[in-house]
């Protein structure tokens, strides 16, 4: 696992259109190696489209480069070695075992007609241990709870050993404890392995706690971009979310976003 090089991710003039509908207007963002960029914005702002364009799931204009290479021109396999993706709603085959599921993360390293090597199996085992899932190896996916599933999908992404991790609302289905657990895990991997992380998140407070940079999208346009303190400001959020919020700052600089209750 030491083979991984901290890697920079660059979006340059990236735009995405579905038929005639523009989902993302040209935007440019650079995520430094080891950085955590969080995309925020209302539903339909284009967060998922940005993430999905990076891993080759939607056609885009402009470029996404990882370690200096354009993701659009690389092979599917090579791209999967550089970028691991955790989808919003992963498809979990009910009767697959936890171990086999995590082993899927090794697919980019298995030759076309090959089978998982001893090293692949060892890597999957290590990841399971790191994510406290070792005891679950033989369990079928249908027997897992929501929180365990979320960890499992992260485990699969970790097994991919890609230097860049893309998370599409990884915690939307989780309670506050499991949200923290999942994000702590990503954060730990980020420090231990120098992972570069791009996530889309709805919880603005959590986004500010974990990411070192926020990019606010609104109707496909990048409207604010900077540190959590720069972006999580009441006037900005009120304008683009169309809500009335206040933002409290803790002594350590953490921003807490609260909706204002309308006076009765």
């Amino acid at each position: 696992m030491s083979s991984m090089q901290p890697t920079q991710l660059v979006f340059r003039d990236l735009s995405v259109s579905y038929d005639t509908q523009v989902a993302v207007h040209p935007l440019s963002l650079t995520v430094p190696a080891g950085g955590w960029l969080c995309l925020i914005g209302p539903n339909g702002a284009g967060k998922s489209s940005v993430l999905r364009s990076a891993c080759g799931l939607v056609r885009h204009r402009g470029s996404v480069t990882v370690a200096g290479q354009d993701t659009a021109t690389m092979s599917t396999r090579h791209r999967a070695r550089l970028l691991a993706f955790v989808p919003q709603l992963p498809l979990l085959p009910a009767d697959m075992t936890v171990f086999d599921y995590v082993l899927l993360g090794r697919s980019p390293f298995i030759s076309y007609f090959g089978v998982a090597s001893a090293r692949d199996r060892a890597t999957a085992g290590e990841v399971l241990t790191q994510l406290d899932l070792a005891g679950f190896a033989d369990r079928r996916l249908e027997t897992l709870s929501g929180g365990e599933c979320q960890r499992l999908v992260l485990a699969r992404a970790m097994a991919q050993e890609a230097p860049v991790l893309l998370l599409d609302e990884p915690t939307s289905a989780l309670d506050i404890g499991h949200q923290q657990q999942a994000l702590e895990l990503v954060d730990r991997m980020r420090w231990e392995r120098g992972l570069t992380v791009v996530s889309a998140m709805h919880d603005l407070t959590l986004a500010g706690v974990y990411a070192d940079r926020l990019a606010l999208l609104h109707e496909g346009r990048l409207v604010a971009d900077g540190s959590p303190a720069e972006v999580l400001r009441a006037e900005i959020l009120s304008e683009f979310y169309g809500v009335s919020v206040r933002v409290h700052y803790e002594d350590d600089g953490t921003a807490i976003v609260l909706p204002n209750r309308r006076a009765r």
Binding site: R52, C55, G56, L57, S75, T76, R77, H78, R79, A80, R81, L83, A84, F85, P87, P90, L91, L92, P93, A94, D95, M96, T97, F99, D100, Y101, L104, G105, S107, P108, I110, F113, G114, V115, D138, E142, Q160
Partner: protein, 325 residues
């Protein structure tokens, strides 16, 4: 017991079942038990029939399991993309032209027409699905298959409507599927296609497991989904077309066998594919036995037997087990 060891146990059990089926298939028939006196019947009638049943059953089961994996749809069978319709149309045309006019041909035109019809129909489906649908969805492909199947059956109905009763009966018999005229020649005819198709499909069992998490996730796991899908569909189609050309349209095997295997042994294609081969072969050998005995000397069409035995068995399985593709 580890999961891989359990897989070997199931595979061994399936092979044992196949061995039993082969012995029964060779022993049982209207001409009686095995003996030196009827060796000729056994070698030239029963053994090729058992061999062909095994090949057809194995191929349809393997193709069915592969199609189900590629489309992630449990209701899919090897005839999904128009293979049945195309083969049926090809056979209908040849039969309605009259076997008499074609009997002096060097190649028997019936299996050839069925084979080419199946390949042509699936090719049209694939081109139409790829041209009109977005690139990555399999739904458009399935819908294109429905359209092509309707088209072939319309043309078939048109041809049949202008044919004599004898032709209609002959076509109907062919469509139901039968191994009555199985010979070693048929075995030699289809074996190469089946071996190549089977090898390609088996080699893709790991890819089918990756596809279980969906096209998008499979793509982010490094799988070239489009290429893998077209390879599997092509291999399954060639194999299906080859066996259909000699056996007619034997219903239900391609759905019921992979499902039964999945319900008992789990959904991993590393296991489902090889075990489906053995179970499918055994199933069709066994299903062919009542066909030759029930209305002796007349034959009950094999497709009727497979559906008649397979459907209730399948319902019991559905009731007792849960499954996922």
């Amino acid at each position: 017991m580890t999961t891989s060891r359990r897989g070997w146990v199931w595979l061994s059990a399936a092979m044992l079942l196949l061995a039993v089926a082969v012995v029964l298939g060779v022993m049982v028939g209207p001409a009686g038990r095995l003996s030196a006196a009827n060796w000729n019947i056994i070698w030239n009638v029963r053994m090729p029939r058992v061999a062909l049943a095994a090949i057809v059953g194995a191929m349809l089961s393997l193709a069915g399991a592969s199609y189900q994996g590629v489309f992630r749809n449990p209701l899919v069978d090897p005839y999904l993309l128009g293979a049945a319709g195309g083969a049926g149309l090809g056979a209908t045309i040849v039969i309605s032209l009259g076997r008499a006019t074609t009997s002096e041909w060097i190649v028997d035109p019936l299996p050839l027409a069925a084979f080419l019809g199946a390949i042509a129909a699936v090719t049209v489906t694939y081109l139409a699905g790829a041209a009109f649908g977005s690139m990555r969805t399999s739904t458009t492909l399935v819908l294109a298959g429905v359209a092509v199947a309707s088209l072939t059956s319309a043309i078939q109905a048109f041809v049949l409507q202008r044919s004599s009763d004898g032709v209609i009966r002959a076509v109907y018999n062919w469509l139901l599927g039968s191994l009555v005229n199985a010979s070693w020649h048929d075995v030699r005819l289809v074996l190469p296609y089946v071996v190549v198709s089977g090898a390609v499909l088996l080699a893709h069992r790991r890819h089918l497991d990756v596809l279980r998490v969906g096209d998008d996730e499979a793509l982010t796991l490094g799988l070239d989904v489009r290429r893998v899908r077209i390879t599997i569909v092509a291999a399954a189609t060639v194999g299906t077309a080859a066996v259909v050309s000699v056996s007619g349209l034997i219903a239900f095997v391609g759905i019921v066998v992979p499902h039964a295997v999945r319900m008992v042994c789990g959904g991993s294609y590393r296991r489902v594919l090889p075990i489906s081969i053995a179970v499918g072969a055994a199933f069709l050998i066994l299903a062919d036995i009542p066909g030759r005995m029930l209305q002796n000397p007349a034959e009950t069409p094999l497709g009727v037997v497979t559906a008649f035995c397979g459907a209730p068995f399948f319902m019991v399985l559905l009731r007792t087990r849960r499954t996922a593709v």
